[in-house]
């Protein structure tokens, strides 16, 4: 049994998969790269949108879609 099904990609180990970001004001959480909503970072879940994003390092606070 995998820790979480569907997540077997390289660079996504058991530890990374067990830590998530708890968002307060969103000033220090990466919108795309941190795992703060859902099971995977948004850059993986919405890779197509991520490719289009102008600022890939945007914070949660600064990113209003």
């Amino acid at each position: 049994m995998k820790i979480r099904d569907g997540i077997g990609e390289e660079g996504y180990d058991w530890f990374t998969g067990s830590v998530l970001r708890k968002v307060g004001d969103g000033e220090h959480t990466s919108f795309w790269l941190d795992r703060w909503v859902g099971d995977v970072p948004l850059c993986r879940r919405f890779s197509w949108l991520f490719n289009l994003a102008e600022n890939k390092l945007a914070t949660v606070a600064s990113n209003s879609l």
Partner: protein, 150 residues
């Protein structure tokens, strides 16, 4: 896709003056503990490695061979693609050292490469067996070590 993404984040409300923080998913309340990390690791299934384990760490196998095999089966050998992933080699320098033009992964280097992969046929004929190779290193390892008991 955009709508789906919007829907997900529309349920999240930022809290001013509250700092973002890390959270240990298996235990939100108590936070990280060695116990919970241990529980995760021991609940994982490494079936193939378990089968291979007693073969890798066999007392008659020299330790340098055991360690090489262990690293190979975990894909921790410094192949060019692994060195690239760790930021050591540029993407322009990841093709196989054998000069065949393919990307140098462990699987390629040990099995698929026309140059190096040939060795298994030679070893087989030396042992007096015939057969074909697995495309996967773990399966190949189990398969090949079975020759020693056959």
């Amino acid at each position: 896709m955009l709508a789906e993404c919007r829907a997900i984040i529309s349920n999240i409300f930022l809290q001013p003056y509250v700092s973002d923080s890390w959270q240990w998913h298996p235990d939100h309340v108590g936070g990280y503990s060695v116990r919970s990390g241990y529980a995760i690791l021991t609940s994982q299934d490494h079936q193939l490695l378990d089968d291979a384990q007693s073969l890798i760490w066999h007392p008659q196998v020299p330790s340098k061979v055991s360690i090489l095999t262990w690293r190979l089966l975990r894909d921790r050998l410094p192949t060019k693609i692994n060195l690239h992933d760790r930021g050591i080699l540029p993407v322009t320098d990841i093709s196989c050292v054998g000069g065949c033009g393919h990307i140098e992964t462990a699987n390629h280097l040990f099995i698929l490469c026309d140059f190096f992969g040939d060795i298994w046929q030679h070893v087989r004929s030396w042992l007096g067996f015939s057969g074909v190779d697995h495309q996967n290193i773990g399966a190949h390892f189990i398969h090949f070590t079975n020759y020693s008991v056959a």
